[in-house]
């Protein structure tokens, strides 16, 4: 079984409210909120009608780690998460440019890279999403659930593939 991560339940499930961003930002820095400090970002495109949450996909070969010029990023071999050495990272943003999934960000106030840490296995964004748009599960579990929902809700396969974050 693969490690659990975050998926979008359905291509139209996310409303773009940004509550996940608020919760994430408050979770990592209690007592202050700003979605620009969050490790999950909602991308809203009013022209295409797509609203997609973006976050780290814990890639097998993370481009962000390779791109870092000061070797501040590393991937935890157990969890797959990207770890940032805050003393080395200077917030240059090469990792942001390298990540084609828009899953890593530079915190605008402290100027350090930040990415999803799944809140130690209890992701708060999932907990506070009132539309249950975010699902925390393994890729096998997700594929199984998607098959069911694709059949029952007549979502086109092309669209359904876009739900994988």
């Amino acid at each position: 079984m693969s490690r659990p991560r975050l998926y979008l339940r359905h291509p139209d499930a996310c409303t773009g409210c940004g509550i996940c961003e608020l919760v994430c930002s408050g979770q990592h820095e209690p007592g202050t909120v700003n979605p620009a400090h969050s490790r999950i970002r909602i991308n809203i495109n009013p022209e295409t009608g797509r609203i997609i949450p973006l976050m780290c996909r814990f890639c097998t070969h993370p481009a962000c780690v390779t791109a870092c010029p000061v070797e501040a990023l590393s991937q935890n071999t157990n969890t797959g998460m990207i770890e940032v050495d805050e003393t080395t990272c200077d917030g240059c943003g090469r990792c942001v440019e390298a990540c084609k999934f828009n899953g890593i960000y530079v915190h605008p106030a402290i100027k350090r890279a930040i990415s999803c840490d799944l809140c130690d296995g209890d992701p708060q964004c999932v907990k506070y999403c009132m539309k249950d748009a975010l699902v925390y599960c393994t890729s096998e579990e997700y594929k199984k659930s998607r098959k069911i929902s694709v059949h029952s809700s007549s979502v086109s396969t092309e669209n359904a593939e876009k739900t994988e974050l």
Binding site: D12, T15, G16, C17, G18, I19, L22, V23, S25, G26, E29, P30, G31, T32, V33, N34, A36, H37, N43, P46, E47, T48, G49, I51, P108, A109, Y128, M130, K131
Partner: protein, 649 residues
């Protein structure tokens, strides 16, 4: 002074001298007026007055957020835009959701105040402490969607938030609104024209600062409790699915959706309207839930017309019936056109429908309208008129003055311009309140004139056939059991209920959260929700975020204070009881529809107004706030000033 919730800064921009300065938000201002509409109205009262030309450089354009804006408090994305209104000449404000308000907070400002007038078109760019007045020649003449995209590209950040006017605001159209994030409007009162008069095309903002929360754990606990309460509400499932679209049919069933410029009674078009009822729309079109920032309910919809996502207009404003047009794709496109030009959807409906009646009666002819036959039911006419209004072209130049003024210019009977508060020159919304006494009162006394979001709660008036138990008790205790479910009866108890909801609405505007989640509106869920005391929620949220300690009673006092300073503003402009009165068509006997044969008894209605003013501590004859009540609210200086201006307080 609390360092939480508020950023503590007012950003002042003098466009005449290109001067930008940050001012400390005084503690008295914070504690007495909290934020949003509260602080805005106070600043407007202090800095403008009868000598202020609404389109002159001396007018202020104030954009206000609250301590809870941009936090996890549900629906806390709203903000208020305030100025002296060019449409009415009295207090003008518009309230909007979207994303702009929170971003202004993240940039480090609670309130933004513009004054003066730039020589050339400019826009303001706020990037935390870096605030620049930038040249906007390339934006002038462009619509709100274009401006938003251009500025986001220019700044290189698709999450920069843009508040802008369209061509209507540039052309000083008095029913122009201010649009943010393409589709969210602070539409009412013609504030787009104020922005245009200052040569201010847009404000773009992004912020990297956090909003400080005093008690994050207490806040999370409150949020959890509110979410649970939402889910208990019997309306939760259908409301979060259908959102505002339900109003299309509900308002018709209640008789409050006007037909043919109010010439026919509201609700007589049920047959024609059924094909655009929410269930049918959801069957025929693909719709998608969209939310304002921080809102777990997502009443907003994108609807796919010609395979393109377009904003579904909020149900309450969705009345093609006013022109006798029942065509869903047309109505959605009409809404987008208004958003793009930056026009108030309500006012455009009012003034174009009135023009159709004037044409039908021969008050205006093809000679006045460049050959256009302004007939009811004609979609092309509506589209053409929207363009003409936005550009002030031909007949559009007159219609751009709003329905009351336009009627006066063409010499129409005031009766053809249905509005509550004719004397205040207000553009009413598409709301037929005839034979609905509580609604008529609430719209009439609104401090921005005919504001349907100020005091009225349609369902609580018995319009929908059944009253929540709480209000049944209020009726019974007042000895008005027979007035339950009889909206045309103007029993004084309705003034008390209006006042109750006025507090809820004012308080919501002060802390800038959405009224859809309050007892006031759809989602008030008298079945299911356990914690429905809105003022208590507001006080609790404020305490958790801002680290202050206020109770329900204080919250109510603050709301009363704000309402009274707004009323005093209008009194200073010469607006008295007589200016609050509705036009006669709204008092006629209904023919057909759910309230067939009913009308409000005019004498009874006057007694309802009497009672409303009396419980406010305002003089019954003039409606001027008495010194006693102003003093009680700490507004002695307002009483002194009104007295000096010759008002008997």
């Amino acid at each position: 002074m609390s360092t939480h919730g508020w950023t503590g800064n007012i950003l002042r921009v003098d466009l005449t001298h290109a001067k930008i300065q940050t001012e400390l938000l005084a503690e008295t201002l914070r504690l007495d007026f909290i934020g949003g509409r509260g602080i805005n109205s106070k600043i407007l009262y202090d800095e403008t007055g009868p000598d202020t030309d609404p389109l002159g450089p001396e007018n202020r354009l104030i954009i206000g957020t609250s301590p809870v804006t941009g936090t996890l408090v549900p629906t806390s994305s709203r903000f208020t835009v305030t100025a002296k209104s060019p449409l009415t000449g009295i207090l003008g404000d518009g309230n909007s959701g979207g994303f702009f308000g929170p971003e202004l907070k993240y940039a480090g400002y609670d309130t933004l105040v513009f004054e003066g007038r730039s020589e050339n078109p400019v826009y303001l760019f706020i990037d935390d402490d870096r605030v620049e007045i930038r040249e906007a020649g390339h934006l002038w003449g462009r619509n709100t969607h274009e401006v938003t995209s251009i500025l986001q590209n220019e700044i290189g950040d698709s999450r920069a938030r843009v508040l802008t006017i369209g061509q209507a605001g540039e052309n000083l159209v008095k029913i122009a609104g201010v649009i943010n994030d393409r589709e969210h409007a602070a539409a009412r009162s013609g504030l787009g024209a104020v922005m245009g008069s200052k040569n201010l095309k847009a404000v773009a903002v992004r912020g990297s600062n956090g909003v400080s929360v005093a008690h994050p754990e207490a806040l999370l606990e409150l949020v959890n409790r509110m979410y649970e309460d939402y889910k208990r509400c019997s309306s939760y499932d259908w409301y979060t699915h259908y959102g505002g679209t339900t109003a299309i049919i509900d308002m018709c069933r209640a008789g409050s959706a006007p037909v043919k410029n109010y010439m026919k009674s509201g609700g007589t078009d049920l047959e024609k309207r059924l094909p655009i009822a929410h269930e049918r729309i959801f069957e025929q079109y693909k719709l998608r839930n969209v939310a304002c920032f921080g809102c777990p309910l997502a009443c907003d919809k994108w609807t796919y017309i010609d395979d393109r996502p377009m904003k579904h207009p909020d149900g309450g404003s969705f009345h093609g019936a006013i022109w006798e047009i029942y065509d869903y794709p047309f109505l959605v496109k009409f809404n987008e056109l208004c958003d793009q030009y930056g026009l108030d959807l309500y006012s455009v409906q009012m003034v174009t429908a009135a023009a159709m009646e004037w044409f039908e009666r021969g008050i205006i002819t093809k000679k006045d309208s460049d050959g256009l036959e302004i007939r009811f039911g004609d979609k092309d006419v509506v589209r053409t008129l929207v363009q003409k209004i936005a550009r002030r072209e031909g007949i559009g130049d007159i219609l751009a003055e709003g329905s009351v003024r336009a009627g006066q210019i063409v010499g129409a009977d005031p009766d053809t311009t249905s509005t509550c508060g004719y004397g205040k020159k207000t553009d009413h919304g598409p709301i037929d309140c005839s034979a609905i006494a509580g609604l008529t009162l609430s719209l009439s006394v609104s401090t921005r004139g005919s504001g349907h979001l100020r005091a009225v709660a349609p369902m609580a008036w018995g319009v929908f056939g059944s009253l929540p138990p709480k209000w049944q008790k209020v009726f019974k205790d007042a000895g008005a059991g027979n007035a339950m479910d009889k909206p045309w009866i103007a029993h004084p108890v309705k003034a008390e209920i209006a006042t109750y909801f006025e507090n809820v609405c004012t308080s919501s505007d002060i802390i800038e959260i959405c009224k859809n989640t309050t007892e006031f509106y759809y989602f008030y869920g008298y079945e299911g929700r356990e914690h429905k005391d809105d003022l208590q929620w507001h006080a609790d949220f404020l305490n958790a975020v801002a680290g202050i300690d206020i109770d329900r009673q204080t919250m109510e006092t603050i709301a009363r204070r704000v309402l009274n300073i707004e009323k005093a503003y209008n009194v200073r402009e010469g607006m008295l009881r007589e200016h609050d009165m509705p036009t006669t068509r709204l008092l006629r006997k209904r023919v057909g529809g759910p309230l067939d044969g009913r009308s409000i008894d005019p004498d009874e209605l006057q007694r309802l107004f009497d009672h409303y003013y009396k419980i406010h501590g305002w003089d019954v004859t003039t409606s001027i706030p008495k010194r006693g009540i102003l003093k009680e609210l700490g507004l002695d200086y307002v009483a002194d000033e009104l007295e000096a201006a010759g008002c008997k307080v």
